[in-house]
């Protein structure tokens, strides 16, 4: 063992110690506002079995896990840098991944699995969650990915478009105090195009004034807009039904000639409907990414001044990203309205916007595959925690984890689990440049 390693290791060990105490607090029992230290104290003194060997403070368990994974990562890295076999393996893998047919096959397999999923999952909780908490969130994440990932615009009020889609559906189907759009109410099915278009229009209306602003101002202004939409939904009782929520939104039904079908309480038919739209949106977003539009988005994201000097109108493309991203959120809104039959402003909070953001960040901004993966994994974990909460877990604790995850991702893996090809390259390139400078 060499000295620098021990030195480095001991500072890391200290950091891991602090982190594990923090983790113990975060996962431990809650406190209260009368005795400030009780939550911290209880969390740190709480006992747990040390891998079944003996009983110790729960933080010690976290500490052990932290140290072991640090060492593992450290030695793996070392091994990796000495070992070119690993590299060749990786490049082989990436050449396989590049293969068009391989990709196509992977997509087909995933598609088939998605179609067969309802036959495997029979638990009613999960059947419901599959649609309203997973598939709908995949749609939301896909939409936000266009805005954040492709165009590089941090929109913290994305939930506004979701709300517009949902309330538009309620409006069309006569579930709002405000009279429905065409005088008489329609089946939610026909609300789909209207809701999508209204969400896109909302994107344009919100985008034109705000997208002229610098990136950080945009974030705070969209955050404010998101809050204001909730505020209006709460207070304009005559239009939205206020905090009490809407009247009953009917289920989907289809009557075309002899064809008759009603989406009832069973989530499975909704599932197939959403999956259809997920595929449609993936196709659209993928095509856009690999077109002139996607390249223009990347150019603006990378260097707006240079993009402008080449004749790209940044405002136009940014507004377009807002509108296109809003489309899938609008559809997600239709699904939520029609499936849950009922809307309240309490659904459309800043917390939800941040929740969607974390799906995008975790999977990989700008990577469609990553984002879908991130949304499925995080939402499944979330639902699992609600379904079978571990001891001491309360649902709002989730937000603590989400906050921490955002910071951790930004520090250690800003590109997400599956970095977008275009972003990854930039990261690699800048780091290699810095190395050569330093």
């Amino acid at each position: 063992m060499n000295l620098p390693f021990i030195k480095k290791f001991s500072t890391k060990a200290l950091i891991i110690l602090i982190s594990s105490e923090l983790a113990a607090v975060v996962t431990g029992p809650p406190g209260n506002g009368d005795t400030p230290w009780v939550g911290f104290h209880d969390s740190i003194t709480q006992k747990a079995s040390f891998f079944g060997l003996f009983v110790t403070g729960r933080w010690a368990l976290f500490y052990a896990i932290g140290i072991i994974s640090y060492l593992a990562v450290h030695f793996f890295k070392k091994l990796n840098s000495n070992n070119s076999a690993m590299d060749s393996l990786r490049s082989q893998y990436s050449s396989v991944a590049k293969n068009k047919y391989f990709k196509l096959a992977a997509v087909l397999v995933i598609g088939v699995l998605a179609i067969l999923l309802p036959t495997v999952i029979t638990d009613p909780f999960w059947r419901e969650a599959m649609v309203s908490q997973i598939a709908v969130f995949v749609l939301l994440a896909l939409g936000l990915n266009v805005v954040v990932g492709f165009a590089g615009l941090l929109d913290l009020g994305f939930v506004a478009f979701y709300a517009v889609g949902a309330y538009a559906t309620a409006w069309c189907t006569g579930a709002l105090p405000m009279p429905p759009i065409f005088g008489s109410h329609v089946n939610p099915f026909f609300a789909i195009p209207i809701a999508i278009i209204l969400a896109m229009v909302a994107g344009v209306i919100l985008g034109i004034p705000t997208l002229r602003l610098r990136g950080d101002y945009l974030a705070i202004v969209t955050l404010g807009f998101g809050e204001i939409i909730t505020l209006f939904a709460n207070n304009l009782t005559g239009i939205t039904g206020g905090a009490q929520g809407t009247k009953q939104v009917p289920h989907f039904s289809l009557h075309i000639g002899p064809l008759k079908y009603i989406w009832g309480l069973d989530p499975v038919p909704y599932y197939y409907l959403v999956i259809g739209f997920v595929i449609l949106f993936i196709f659209i977003f993928y095509s856009l990414e690999h077109s002139r539009v996607g390249r223009a988005w990347t150019a603006i994201r990378e260097d707006e001044v240079a993009a402008e000097s080449l004749g790209i109108n940044p405002l136009k493309y940014k507004v377009m990203a807002f509108a296109i991203g809003a489309a899938s959120a609008g559809f997600a809104g239709v699904m939520t309205a029609a499936q849950s039959n009922f809307l309240t402003p309490a659904t459309f909070t800043l917390a939800l916007s941040i929740n969607i953001l974390v799906l995008v960040i975790f999977g990989g901004m700008g990577s469609i595959f990553g984002v879908v993966f991130g949304a499925i994994v995080i939402q499944t974990i979330t639902m699992y925690l609600i379904h079978t909460p571990p001891a001491g877990y309360q649902p709002p604790d989730l937000y603590i984890y989400i906050g921490a995850l955002l910071v951790i991702m930004m520090i250690f893996r800003p590109g997400g689990l599956f970095p977008a090809r275009r972003r990854q390259r930039a990261d690699v390139a800048t780091s290699s440049l810095e190395n050569s400078n330093g």
Binding site: E302, G311, I312, N313
Partner: protein, 265 residues
């Protein structure tokens, strides 16, 4: 025929700082024109004013395209000015670092068409034809600047000289009438400088694109430019052919004296 650029009496201020004061100049069509001057003289500010990045508070800038009416540059957005036929490079090169060399140039080649979101989704014959055309044009330009071999490299992995050439290709892809080059030789080695000189001349001779050039390397400027303006503290202090400039005592005092001293060490 009217001059390509006609700049009269522009003044540009930032708060108390005056970066350009009462500057007038013109460029003839097909000319290789250079702007020189010490650091902070206002050269880049002039470029930024010509391309709509900065808006001078006073004066006028007129651009005369080959076809159509004269265009007043002031008050226009950079992307609009690009559409009229003005392209530029930047002093600190600004690549799209996440994209390949090829994609960088292609963005220039396709940025003057409509937005085409619907086309991008449906991929109809018109869209495919457009793509094909942009691809062909991109390959031509990469050949022209000698970067075909690096087409699939990430832009930020290129050497300084290559980046400069890439920026030139990207600017040319927009099909301009004039190309503004802001210190294209900065950071390049002597052999790259020679190649660059040839390339710039080739752009003018073979493509018929006028050149407006900012450069500190006197050898390069004097061999390339047909006419020069000298800026100092935001004002034009001299104008003329390379020989006239060399002989101008003002210029020697204000600028050339120092650069030759710099060049010596």
């Amino acid at each position: 025929m009217a001059n390509l650029f006609e700049v009269s009496n522009i003044t540009l201020r930032f708060g108390g700082v005056v970066s350009l004061s009462n500057v007038s100049l013109y460029q003839k069509r097909g000319e290789i024109l250079a702007v020189i001057g010490p650091n902070g003289a206002g050269k880049t500010s002039l470029f930024n004013s010509l391309t709509g990045v900065y808006q001078p508070q006073e004066g006028s800038i007129t651009f005369n395209p080959k076809e159509g009416e004269p265009i007043s540059i002031i008050g226009k957005k950079p992307h609009v000015i690009s559409h009229t036929g003005v392209a530029r490079t930047f002093q600190a090169s600004r690549m799209f670092n996440a994209l390949t060399t090829f994609e960088n140039v292609k963005i220039g080649a396709e940025s003057h068409k409509g937005i085409g979101a619907i086309g991008a989704i449906l991929r109809g014959p018109a869209t495919r034809k457009d793509e094909k055309y942009s691809d062909a044009r991109t390959w031509d330009l990469l050949d022209f600047v000698g970067l075909r071999a690096k087409a699939n490299y990430i832009a930020s992995s290129l050497s300084y000289g290559e980046r400069r050439r890439l920026e030139i290709a990207r600017g040319l892809a927009t099909n301009p009438e004039v190309l503004l080059l802001d210190e294209p030789a900065a950071g390049t080695n002597p052999s790259e400088k020679l190649e660059l000189t040839d390339l710039i001349r080739k752009v003018r001779d073979q493509m018929g694109v006028s050149i407006l050039l900012i450069e500190h390397d006197m050898k390069l400027v004097m061999s390339l430019a047909e006419r020069l303006y000298v800026l100092n503290f935001g004002s034009v202090i001299a104008e003329g052919t390379p020989d006239e400039i060399r002989a101008n005592q003002n210029v020697v005092d204000a600028y050339l004296g120092t650069t030759t001293a710099e060049g010596a060490n």
